[in-house]
């Protein structure tokens, strides 16, 4: 289904990491109300790499995503994305950086007043030097890629949860991101569609050298990961422990059976 958009076969380049976290600390509140969310997090993600991030609720996964996504100010430590240091960055710098980052939210966050096609085009509209028709065609192309070519004109309230999620994915991909951040992208999808979507994301990572950092608890998509990172109490667990757990075919935090690759 996604072959048309993944026709190119660019080998992953093992160059400088596109995401580098060094001794990243983050907290909410102050004084006695201060709550440490991230503690000394070190993480690097290379272009084209698919990294799954897992861990119990409240362990800091989402905060990590928002910091990598340049959605909040870095408090302590270093976050470099595409070589841009976000510690001490300005609002304008973060906003500019976000144009290179695709985000897929658990709650879709589609614009209710826009059709599926228009929602995706909002992503394509961020691309410079593309005319209106080219952007519209790109939006249609991505919707076709996620299997929604028959739903171009439908408003979000006429789509099922899974269809909305696919529109959100198409919207993120239409902006041709170099880094994709996804928060439980398959949570609302059936197994077949979920598989298609993660295959699409993996294909994107491989063929367009786009790094993917995905928060997930879905055991069916383990096989797409180049690396699985487990987080607990604001810290990344020892990589070896995580790999052993995944290698045993069980999700480290839930004990659920992992899907067969």
């Amino acid at each position: 289904m996604f072959s048309t958009l993944l026709a190119t076969n660019v080998p992953p380049a093992a160059v400088e990491p596109c995401v580098q976290l060094r001794q990243l600390n983050h907290w909410y509140g102050s004084g006695s109300n201060r709550r440490q969310v991230l503690q000394g997090v070190d993480l690097s993600i290379n272009p084209g790499e698919v990294v799954l991030l897992t861990g119990p609720s409240g362990c800091g996964k989402t905060t990590l995503l928002t910091l990598v996504g340049a959605l909040r100010q870095v408090m302590d430590g270093s976050v470099r994305v595409f070589g841009v240091e976000l510690q001490g960055s300005t609002r304008g710098q973060r906003q500019q950086l976000r144009r290179s980052i695709g985000m897929i939210f658990q709650g879709h966050n589609l614009l209710r007043c826009l059709s599926a096609e228009q929602n995706v085009q909002m992503g394509a509209d961020l691309l410079p030097d593309l005319g209106y028709r080219a952007r519209r065609d790109l939006a249609r192309q991505w919707l076709r890629a996620v299997g929604l070519e028959d739903h171009l004109g439908k408003l979000p309230h006429d789509l099922s949860g899974g269809q909305k999620q696919r529109v959100a994915i198409a919207r993120a991909l239409a902006a041709e991101p170099r880094l994709l951040l996804a928060d439980e992208p398959t949570a609302a999808l059936d197994s077949r569609t979920g598989r298609e979507v993660v295959d699409l994301l993996k294909g994107l990572a491989r063929n367009q050298n786009c790094a993917v950092l995905m928060v997930t608890h879905d055991p069916r998509i383990l096989d797409i990961a180049d690396r699985v990172v487990r987080m607990e109490d604001g810290q990344l667990m020892d990589r070896g422990q995580g790999e052993r757990l995944w290698g045993a075919g069980r999700l480290p935090d839930t004990g659920r059976e992992a899907a067969e690759g």
Binding site: L71, R99, M103, N109, L111, G131, Y132, D183
Partner: protein, 389 residues
């Protein structure tokens, strides 16, 4: 054209408004209501001021001479009649008409009560009004003691027009002297006078014996076709003595309107009414836009997370304001037209939709919507892209 397609974006503001037709209808009703209120208040104000120059507009003149001591049509001072003769020396002047103008007491022949009536005295052979039908009627004024009564005068003057049409001889007292109605004209009441009558200069001087025959209240000057009244007025100002003021016809009307503007509360009252409409509209539009921004805050935050700049989103709200202004103005304008027609037929007040007022109300509605949009934009500061994960 290719540049347009290159830059064209999804009309987000339009879609945000139109995909919620109920809310849009409420917003447009509110803006249209405010617009109608402003149209009516400004229309009444201008209509009342226009009514003060009902007779002024009818004069067949390019320039008008008045005494500098004249404050308004209800207190005309005299000036030497020979100034008109002197004005004739200017090569652009082709004709003049001396006019006597004063308020006199008219006795209602039915109730015997008296009421002030504007009396205009002129030589029946001279052109006075632009309406050519008057010239045909003016000859009856050659007979002393005859008057032409304004049939549009208020009914307090008596059933003059109906009696005259019935063929009855209508005689009454003006300034304590007997006059006979020899015909009817249609001029219309004004601020200063509830009724009007025309008479010959001779009859006028008989009714007002204290008036000096060499003194007149108005001097009408007609110019050659193609002459610039402003230039001729300027020339006459330099040649005529200071005991006479020279106005273009438009300046003559403005002079009268200015008196009523500055000496009555009419301007203040109706401008205040229009301001109330403006404020009501501001509140309505602000409420609509504020709740619209609040409802779509997660979506705006999503757009910011995608890389859209705050200025892009401010632009969306601004365009919503602009669209509301245009869409709300149109029904207000059409309703205003209908209501003006209703007012004209009901009150005889000369209330018409003109370009100036149409533009003024549009600018006010635009300011109302854009100001409200600017205030609603502050809510966009609450859109935090970090909160949407």
């Amino acid at each position: 054209m290719s540049g347009f397609w290159q830059r064209r974006r999804i009309p987000l503001a339009w879609l945000l408004l139109t995909r919620q037709p109920g809310r849009l209808a409420v917003a447009l009703a509110g803006i249209a209501f405010a617009g109608i209120l402003m149209f009516m208040q400004l229309g009444f104000r201008d209509g009342l001021f226009d009514a003060s120059v009902t007779v002024h507009k009818l004069f067949d003149a390019d320039l008008v001479l008045m005494s500098p001591r004249t404050m308004s049509s209800i207190g005309m001072a005299g000036f030497p009649r020979r100034r008109l003769v002197q004005a004739m020396a200017d090569p652009a002047v082709v004709g003049t008409t001396p006019v006597h103008w004063n308020l006199m007491l008219w006795r209602n022949p039915e109730t015997r009560r008296t009421r002030s009536i504007l009396t205009i005295g002129f030589e029946p052979g001279d052109p006075l009004f632009t309406d050519p039908s008057l010239a045909a009627k003016a000859h009856v004024l050659n007979q002393q003691g005859r008057v032409l009564f304004d049939e549009l005068s208020r009914p307090e003057f008596g059933p003059i027009a109906s009696w005259f049409r019935q063929g009855r001889t209508v005689e009454t007292e003006v300034a304590g002297k007997r006059v006979r109605v020899a015909g009817l004209v249609a001029l219309g009441p004004s601020f200063g006078a509830d009724g009007n009558m025309l008479t010959s200069r001779e009859t006028f001087l008989r009714l007002m014996p204290n008036t000096s025959p060499g003194s007149i209240e108005l001097g009408l000057i007609r110019l050659q076709n193609g002459s610039d009244p402003r230039l001729v007025a300027e020339r006459l100002r330099q040649t005529l003595p200071d005991d006479v003021a020279i106005y273009t016809k438009q300046g003559f009307e403005e002079f009268e309107k200015n008196y009523w503007r500055s000496s009555t509360a009419i301007g203040f009252i109706f401008t205040l009414g229009a301001a109330m409409g403006f404020i009501v509209g501001c509140v309505i539009v602000y409420q609509i836009l504020y709740s619209d921004v609040s409802d779509h805050l997660p979506e705006y935050a999503t757009l910011m997370a995608m890389g859209y700049r705050l200025i892009n989103l401010l632009g969306v709200v601004a365009r919503e304001g602009l669209l509301l202004a245009v869409l709300g103005y149109l029904p207000a304008w059409f309703a205003g037209q209908g209501l003006y027609a209703l007012v004209r037929s009901g009150t005889k007040l000369p209330v018409y939709m003109n370009t100036e007022r149409s533009l003024l109300v549009f600018v006010l509605i635009l300011a109302m919507c854009m100001g409200s949009a600017a205030m609603a934009m502050r809510k966009l500061g609450d859109a935090d892209p970090a909160e949407i994960f």
